[in-house]
Symmetry: C2
């Protein structure tokens, strides 16, 4: 006899959770709740939920996921408070956690509160983007409330194991400071860098290279991000102050021609960045990078895929390396073992491709 | 009877230029000049140059390319000034142009000065990275000196046509302001964002997604970048001031809860960024983006390449879309025509892959 899950907000994340949780033997049924009846219909149709309900539906659930935009939370939490039974686990998927934990503290006594933040996204918004594999290998942070017993958190972790996500337990404050540093502040920096071009076409022509990578995040949904930034206000303000201070310091090093200081900062960044884990996307992490230089021509990517595929070498990750400021015809292929890497070099060399292991 | 080219500095750019210019029917021979004898030997061996010479060799050349690091330019220009004949074209490949044009103004009367900046790079430094295709479809800026006649510039453009680069004529000042905006300032922002993490391993674990893209440029060669930044000091200082101002404005909008202003800035960035040209890497630009959602598992990329390859559909560009803050299993494939795009959707759907055109 499994558990009943309620998903409030059957958009990208809610829909993907539904598709994934459906594959858990623990789950008996999934109740979908949303203001958008079309989204609910679509969720039902693709098998993300089993039935449609109004807010009262939460009284039948053992676990409730709040998957609506952050700004709806205060009202939503007040709305479910009337219906929810003690003993229910309530968790969310919001991008910031301190504010959410404050809001969820308003739920009735006996309801188990665990904040959640699966760090996964898609470029398609809404239920259309729902994807059973969305959370695979993604970091999924949980921030249990102060009154939530560890075994309750363990139950939620167990339920989420089917997602394939990497669960990390954290304090809400720590989470918010961390996502400010790696996500919210870089986001604002990207927004600023893009806006400073003023959209001048000649500038954008030059911007085709590295600038596109640097500013990719600035293409994300503005109103979603307004919600993220405003619910993480204090950590973002603190992070912005640090960024502005640091840029001011770099500015002064450049103005006063302190070349050693400038070089030290550039070198430190290069060193730290080399430590960012990469290739976390594959089920097996990329153990080994194969770099190939190819003519920048149509067909070469398919060709690489074909050659390695014919030799049963799995490409775990692929990246067209745009380095410094332009586009080279250099491609990084991540493979899952050193042995595969060595074989890839051999078979690509046999095809006269310039290739080596990194 | 073709022309003789001298390449001073047979590293990545010089070596790649040599390999490419060798394919021009206009070029009779390529003289390589470098302090690093090993690099010269290697350049000779791969066919980037025809002969090795000392600085005096420039007297035999009709076109001289300065391809050494920017900081060597003052001394190098003084060194070649004694040997160079009037009527010779001297150009360079430095990343900033005003300072270089000042330095090159010291060359003897009658020498034709044209600044140059091919916006291409590779992650392999030195002659090891030399690549005949390095400049293909890259923007290559030329900044003719005030005394250089248009027909001289046309001669250089003609010579460079074999590179496949997109030549743009610009004033040195305009070039420097533009590269500050799209390259130097984003570079400093990336350095700052990376350094602010302090290298904390937990933070770097969360940083595996969008942060890696945003900060990719921070992995570039620190001493090269020290040279770039210091030779473009005034434009970089001006750009940094604008960035700091803009971040301060965003900070104040957030602090004072001016949500409309915040939303307007986020929306403006999204709009401008959508206008950055992409898919400039293929010989034929990607006309059409095919988006597919795949399980985030080994083998899928090779599989996509194989399926499309078997149907003679050329993949011009490939990108694993990491959106918002995590990694999805969504891949963008650029193909060169709408027809190819439609066929790609059809054949991938036949293989039960979730796919659509963007």
């Amino acid at each position: 006899m499994g558990i009943n899950v309620a998903i409030i907000g059957t958009g990208l994340i809610g829909g993907s959770l539904g598709l994934t949780l459906h594959e858990s033997p623990e789950v008996q049924s999934i109740i979908g709740i949303d203001n958008d009846y079309e989204a609910l219909q679509k969720a039902l149709q693709i098998g993300a939920i089993d039935k449609i309900s109004s807010l009262e539906g939460v009284e039948k659930a053992e676990v409730v996921f709040l998957c609506t935009p952050l700004e709806t939370f205060p009202q939503l939490i007040a709305g479910i408070a009337e219906h929810i039974r003690p003993g229910t686990i309530v968790t969310d998927v919001g991008s910031t956690k301190q504010k959410v934990m404050e809001w969820m503290a308003g739920l009735p006594e006996g309801v188990h509160v665990i904040g959640g933040h699966p760090m996964a996204g898609s470029e398609i918004h809404g239920i259309q983007g729902a994807d059973r594999y969305l959370f695979e290998n993604a970091v999924y942070v949980l921030t249990p409330g102060p009154k939530t017993a560890p075994e309750i958190t363990r139950q939620l972790i167990e339920l989420l194991s089917v997602t394939g996500a990497k669960i990390k337990i954290m304090e809400a404050l720590v989470h918010d400071q961390m996502v400010a540093a790696v996500s919210h502040i870089p986001h604002l920096a990207a927004v600023s860098l893009v806006n400073l071009t003023g959209g001048h076409p000649d500038l954008l022509m030059l911007a085709a290279g590295g600038f596109r990578d640097t500013t990719r995040v600035a293409s994300s949904n503005p109103s979603l991000w307004k919600g993220i930034l405003t619910t993480n206000r204090s950590a973002v303000l603190e992070g912005l102050d640090k960024l502005i201070d640091n840029l001011t310091q770099l500015r002064s090093a450049l103005e006063n021609n302190h070349q050693d200081e400038l070089l030290a900062e550039l070198t430190r960044a290069q060193m730290i960045r080399s430590q960012i884990p990469h290739g976390q996307k594959g089920l097996l992490p990329a153990m080994c990078d194969v770099i190939c230089v190819v003519p920048d021509q149509p067909g070469v990517i398919g060709n690489l895929g074909r050659i390695l595929g014919n030799h049963n070498i799995n490409i775990v990750d692929i990246e067209i390396l745009r380095v410094r400021e332009g586009d080279g015809g250099t491609i990084r292929l991540g493979v899952s073992s050193l042995e595969d890497g060595l074989r890839a070099v051999k078979v690509l060399q046999e095809e006269s491709i310039k290739v080596w292991l990194r």
